[in-house]
C-alpha cells in the first residue's frame, strides 16, 4: 500500500511541477498565438486525463470526475482553441479506455460544451473571485471523498484507485494547487494588464531594448513622440535613432549601466522621428532583467522636451547676452578710462614742459592761457576718475579690500597730494591727531584715502584763507575724523543735498571751483561701504565741518554697532520732535533708516519686532508717532497682520503707515489701507518724500496721477514737487481705484491706455460711484481717439490733453489753473 501511495504522490507532484514550469515559460497573454493556445489546451487536456483517473460512477449514467475543472480552466485561460484541444485529449482517452459507445460521445460532447461555455465566459470578461474558486475546489474535493465512503466499491470504475482514497485526496490537492497557481497567474496577469494600460496610455514613450539596442517593446506613445508605429519600432535599433552628436555619451552611460556602476540615468538627447527630423527628448534608462532572469535589458521612458529646450536655449542665450553686455560695459569703461588718459598724458605733460621750459620767453598772457589748459586738463582727469568710480559703484562692482594700516601715514600721503591746491592760497593747515589712540586701523586703505582726499581737497578748494584742520579722535569703536575749514560755508537749505549725485552748491562756485558734483556722493558711498557714516555742519561765511565716523575694525562684530544704534535712537528720542517709528527686521536697514530720519530732523524710534503685536501697538500708542515705517517680513511675524491691527485700532488708525519691503505688493498694501509703499532698497530721498507726503495736511490728497509709464510719472512728479500740491501716484487702474476710495483726491490725472483696467474703465467707475462722481478728471493720453471715444470723453472727463511730445508743463498748468477743483479741496 505504501508503495502505491508513494507512486501516486510522485506522479502528482511531478505533474504539478510540469504544469508550473510550462506556465512559467508561457505567461498568459492577451493575444497568444494559436500555437500557444494549442499548448495550453494540451496541458489542460493531459490534466483532464489524469483527473479522469479519479472518476466515480454514481449510477450507471451519472459519472462524476474532476475533468470538468481542467476543461473549465482550459476555456478560461486558453479560449476556444484550447477547449477544443483539451476536449480532444479527454475524448481520445475515454475512447481508448472504454471504446466508442453512446456514453463516450455524450461525455465528449458535454465536456466540449462545458469548455466552450467557459471560454465564452472568459470572453465575457466575467470576474471569478478567488474565494469562489477556492470554494469550488474545496466542495469538489469533499464531494469526492464523501463519494468514496458512501458508494459501493463496484461503482468505482478504476480498480487501481479502489482502495486508495488517500490518493484521491491528493488528486483533489492537485486540482487545488493547479487552480491556486492559475489564480496567481491571473492576478499577475491582471496586474500586468494594468501596467499594459499604463504603458499604452502614458504620454511618455515606454520602450524596452536589449543592450545591443534592439527594441523588444515600444508603447503606443511612439506614434505621438516619433510618429512611428510601435510594432515597427520593435526589432529596430535604438541607437540608430540617436543624433550622432549625443550617441557616444549614451553608449558610455549604457556601458556603465552594464557594469552596474550606475543603476539608472536620465539624459537629454535628440532622436530622429519618422520625418527624419531630430527632436529633443529626455529619457530615463533603467536596467532590468529579462523574463529568463539572465540577460539585462534596458527599460526606458522617453518624453518630448523640444519646447523646454527652446525655452532653456532662449534663457541661456539671454543670460549669456546679459553677462556679455555687462562684461562689455565694464570693458568699455576700462577702455574709455584708458583711452582718455592717454591723450591727457600728452596734454598735461607737454603743457607742463612748455610752462617749465619757456616760462621766460612766453608773454604773460600766453602763460596764463597755458595755465588754464593745464588746470582744465587736470580737472578733466578728476572727472574721469570720478565717473569711473561712480559707474563702478552703480554696477555694484566696488569691492572692499581690507588691510591694517596706519591712519597717520595715510593722512600724510593725502596731504602731499593736496598740497598743490593750497600752494597758491593763503591757507594754513593744522593736523590734530590724538596722540593717545592707536592709529592703526583695519579698513580699505584706498577707499579711505579717496575719502580723505575728497574732503581735504574740497576744504582747500572752497576756502580762500584761514585754517584747514584735520582732527582725528576716537569714540568707542569708531575713529572720528573731522575736516574743518574756514571757507565760504554751505547754506543750511543746501546741506541736505550736498551728498546727492550731480549736486553742487551754488552754480557760480561750480564754475569757479569745478568738479563733477560726484565727489561728495562718492565720498558718502565709500564711507557707507566701509560701514561708517558721514555728517556735515556748516555756517555761511564761517566754515564747514565734515565728520567721518569709521569703525576701527571693518571686520568687527555687529555688537558694537548695535550699541551705537541704541545710542543714536536714544539721542533721537530726547529731541522728540517729529517721532517716526519703524518696525524693521533687518539690522542694517534699521541703522540706515535711523540715520536717514535723523538727518532730516525726525526722531527715529526703532520698535523691536521680536515683541508681540500687543506690546508693539502699546508702544506706538504711547509714542503717537508722526508716521510708522513697517517691514512686511518680521521676526516670526507677519507685517500684514500688524498693519491690519494698526489700522483697526481706534488709537492708531490715524497714524500713517508706510510699508517698506523687498516684496512688490503695493496693491495688497493699499487695499489694507497702507498709506504708502516703498520697495527696498529705499533711498533717503524716497523715504523722506513718502513721510512728508503723507503727513502733510492731514493726508488731504489733492492730486492723483494715474499712468503706467513710470518715466512720465516721474516727470510729472518733478513738476508737482515744485508746487505745494499733495499728490499720489498709481501705476495701474486697480491701485488708482483703491487710492480714490481711500483718499478722495480732488483731481485725477488719468492715462487711458493701461494694462488690465484702462483709463476708460476707471473714469466710468468714478462717474458711476456715488461718492466720487463730481471728481475732476483730466485725461492725458497718447492714444489716437476715435470720434466715438472723443465724444464719450468730452462728456465724462473735465479735460482732455494729448500726450504727444510729453507736454508736461501744459498738464501742470491745467492742474494749477483749474480752479474748479481747487476750490473743492
Amino acid at each position: 500500500m505504501l508503495k502505491i501511495i508513494f507512486t501516486n504522490i510522485t506522479i502528482l507532484l511531478s505533474f504539478l511541477f510540469i504544469i508550473g514550469q510550462v506556465l512559467n515559460h508561457y505567461p498568459l497573454e492577451q493575444d497568444s498565438s494559436v500555437r500557444h493556445k494549442t499548448f495550453i489546451g494540451a496541458i489542460f487536456g493531459i490534466m483532464g486525463i489524469v483527473l479522469m483517473m479519479f472518476t466515480f460512477k454514481i449510477t450507471e449514467f451519472i459519472v462524476f470526475d474532476l475533468r470538468n475543472i481542467a476543461i473549465i480552466c482550459s476555456g478560461v485561460f486558453g479560449g476556444f482553441i484550447s477547449v477544443a484541444v483539451s476536449a480532444l485529449f479527454i475524448a481520445v482517452y475515454r475512447i481508448l479506455y472504454f471504446g466508442i459507445n453512446e456514453a463516450s460521445i455524450i461525455f465528449s460532447i458535454s465536456i466540449l460544451i462545458i469548455g466552450l461555455l467557459s471560454a465564452r465566459i472568459s470572453h465575457m470578461k466575467l470576474k471569478v473571485s478567488t474565494k469562489f474558486l477556492y470554494m469550488f475546489i474545496a466542495s469538489t474535493t469533499i464531494t469526492s471523498i464523501v463519494f468514496i465512503y458512501v458508494l459501493d466499491d463496484k461503482n468505482i470504475l478504476l480498480p487501481t484507485l479502489k482502495h486508495y482514497w488517500q490518493v484521491h485526496i491528493l488528486g483533489g490537492l492537485l486540482a487545488y494547487y493547479t487552480c491556486e497557481y492559475i489564480i496567481f497567474s491571473t492576478s499577475t496577469f491582471r496586474e500586468m494588464s494594468y501596467f499594459q494600460i499604463m504603458a499604452d496610455n502614458l504620454v511618455d514613450m515606454i520602450t524596452i531594448h536589449k543592450f545591443n539596442g534592439v527594441y523588444k517593446y515600444a508603447s503606443p506613445s511612439s506614434v505621438k513622440l516619433l510618429g512611428n508605429n510601435p510594432k515597427d519600432m520593435v526589432g529596430k535599433n535604438f541607437f540608430s535613432f540617436i543624433h550622432p552628436d549625443e550617441l557616444q555619451g549614451i553608449l558610455n552611460l549604457q556601458n556603465r549601466l552594464d557594469k552596474r556602476e550606475i543603476l539608472e540615468y536620465t539624459e537629454n538627447f535628440r532622436m530622429k522621428n519618422s520625418k527624419n527630423e531630430y527632436i529633443w527628448v529626455e529619457s530615463t534608462f533603467k536596467c532590468i532583467k529579462d523574463s529568463e532572469g539572465k540577460n539585462l535589458e534596458v527599460i526606458c521612458a522617453t518624453r518630448n522636451i523640444t519646447e523646454r529646450k527652446k525655452i532653456e536655449e532662449k534663457l541661456r542665450r539671454q543670460t549669456a547676452e546679459a553677462i556679455e553686455a555687462n562684461r562689455m560695459k565694464s570693458q568699455f569703461l576700462a577702455n574709455m578710462s584708458h583711452e582718455l588718459r592717454t591723450p591727457l598724458n600728452s596734454i598735461i605733460g607737454f603743457t607742463t614742459r612748455v610752462l617749465k621750459k619757456s616760462v621766460d620767453i612766453l608773454p604773460s598772457i600766453q602763460r596764463e592761457n597755458l595755465d588754464i589748459v593745464k588746470s582744465e586738463a587736470q580737472h578733466l582727469l578728476t572727472l574721469i576718475n570720478d565717473l569711473l568710480d561712480y559707474s563702478k559703484m552703480e554696477a555694484g562692482k566696488m569691492t572692499v579690500s581690507v588691510e591694517e594700516f596706519n591712519l597717520e601715514s595715510l593722512v600724510d600721503e593725502v596731504l602731499e597730494m593736496t598740497s598743490s591746491i593750497s600752494e597758491d592760497k593763503n591757507l594754513m593747515f593744522k593736523k590734530d591727531m590724538d596722540k593717545n589712540i592707536d592709529l592703526n586701523i583695519v579698513s580699505d586703505r584706498i577707499k579711505l584715502k579717496q575719502v580723505l582726499l575728497n574732503l581735504l581737497s574740497n576744504a582747500f578748494k572752497y576756502s580762500e584763507s584761514g585754517t584747514v584742520t584735520l582732527k582725528v579722535s576716537k569714540q568707542n569703536n569708531y575713529i572720528k575724523i573731522d575736516v574743518l575749514d574756514e571757507g565760504i560755508g554751505i547754506d543750511e537749505s543746501e546741506l541736505d543735498d550736498i551728498f546727492k549725485e550731480f549736486h553742487q552748491v551754488d552754480g557760480s562756485y561750480t564754475r569757479k571751483v569745478g568738479g563733477t558734483g560726484l565727489g561728495l556722493a562718492i565720498t558718502k558711498r565709500f564711507v557707507e561701504i566701509l560701514k561708517g557714516r558721514i555728517e556735515v555742519k556748516s555756517e555761511i561765511g564761517v566754515g564747514s565741518t565734515f565728520t567721518v565716523y569709521l569703525p576701527t575694525d571693518y571686520n568687527s562684530t555687529d555688537e558694537s554697532l548695535i550699541k551705537e544704534e541704541l545710542k543714536l535712537s536714544l539721542e533721537a528720542s530726547q529731541q522728540a520732535e517729529k517721532v517716526v517709528a519703524f518696525i524693521e527686521n533687518d539690522f542694517s536697514t534699521r541703522r540706515l533708516y535711523c540715520e536717514y530720519l535723523r538727518q532730516e530732523g525726525f526722531s527715529p524710534i526703532s520698535i523691536d519686532d521680536k515683541e508681540d503685536f500687543e506690546a508693539i501697538i502699546e508702544k506706538i500708542v504711547a509714542l503717537d508717532p508722526h508716521a510708522i515705517i513697517l517691514d512686511i517680513i518680521l521676526q516670526n511675524k507677519d507685517g500684514w497682520e500688524l498693519l491690519n491691527q494698526l489700522k483697526r485700532n481706534p488709537l492708531t488708525k490715524h497714524i500713517p503707515v508706510i510699508i517698506s519691503s523687498v516684496l512688490n505688493e503695493q496693491k495688497l498694501a493699499y487695499k489694507m489701507r497702507a498709506d504708502d509703499y516703498l520697495i527696498k532698497p529705499v533711498l533717503q530721498e524716497e523715504l523722506i518724500n513718502a513721510i512728508s507726503k503723507i503727513t502733510k495736511n492731514d493726508n488731504k490728497v489733492e492730486v492723483l496721477i494715474v499712468d503706467d509709464d513710470k518715466n512720465y510719472l516721474k516727470l510729472l512728479c518733478q513738476y508737482l514737487n515744485e508746487t505745494n500740491l499733495i499728490y499720489l501716484t498709481a501705476e495701474d487702474g486697480l491701485t488708482a481705484m483703491d487710492m480714490i476710495e481711500n483718499h478722495s483726491p480732488g483731481l485725477v490725472i488719468l492715462d487711458l491706455m493701461m494694462p488690465e483696467i484702462t483709463g476708460f474703465e476707471v473714469l466710468d467707475w468714478i462717474r458711476k460711484s456715488e461718492k466720487h462722481k463730481d471728481m475732476s478728471v483730466i485725461v492725458v493720453s497718447a492714444k489716437d481717439l476715435t470720434e466715438q471715444e472723443k465724444e464719450n470723453l468730452i462728456e465724462s472727463a473735465n479735460m482732455i490733453i494729448h500726450k504727444s511730445g510729453m507736454q508736461v508743463e501744459e498738464v501742470i498748468k491745467q492742474v494749477l489753473e483749474d480752479k474748479r477743483w481747487s476750490k473743492r479741496v
Binding site: A334, H338, E339, T342, N345, S346, G349
Partner: protein, 121 residues
C-alpha cells in the same frame, strides 16, 4: 652712460617721455620701441639699465613683454617701471607685483624725474 628703453605705442607720449628723460641730468642712450615685439628685438644686444613700459600695447601687453624680456639674462639687473593709463587701485596692485615701480598716466613730470634720477644713482 645709461641705456634706457621706452616701450610706448603712442607717439606723442613717447616724445613726451623722451623730453622728460632729457631733464634727468645723466648721460643716457634712449631706445624707442612702439611694440612689445620691437622691444624684444631691440634688446637682443643691449643691456638696459631701465625700462619704461606702457601696459596697453597693440601686439602684446606690457606684463607679457616684460616676462619675455627677462628670459634674456641681459635684463637681470634692469629696473622696470610700468607707465600706464590703467590707473585704478586694483590695476596698481596687480602691476606692482610684476614691476619694480608704477607710474600712472598722466604722469607727474616731477615725480617721474625724481624717480628715474633715484634709480640711476
Amino acid at each position: 652712460m645709461f641705456n634706457i628703453l621706452i616701450v610706448e605705442d603712442n607717439i606723442n607720449n613717447m616724445r613726451l617721455f623722451k623730453q622728460i628723460l632729457m631733464d634727468v641730468e645723466k648721460d643716457m642712450i634712449i631706445t624707442e620701441a612702439f611694440l612689445g615685439m620691437e622691444a624684444i628685438e631691440k634688446s637682443k644686444d643691449i643691456i638696459f639699465d631701465l625700462v619704461l613700459m606702457d601696459i596697453a600695447l597693440p601686439d602684446m601687453d606690457g606684463v607679457q613683454t616684460r616676462r619675455e624680456l627677462i628670459k634674456n639674462s641681459n635684463f637681470d639687473k634692469t629696473v622696470f617701471i610700468a607707465v600706464t593709463a590703467h590707473a585704478s587701485g586694483e590695476d596698481k596692485k596687480e602691476l606692482e607685483k610684476e614691476f619694480d615701480y608704477y607710474l600712472s598716466k598722466p604722469v607727474d613730470e616731477e615725480q617721474m624725474i625724481f624717480l628715474i634720477d633715484d634709480i640711476l644713482k
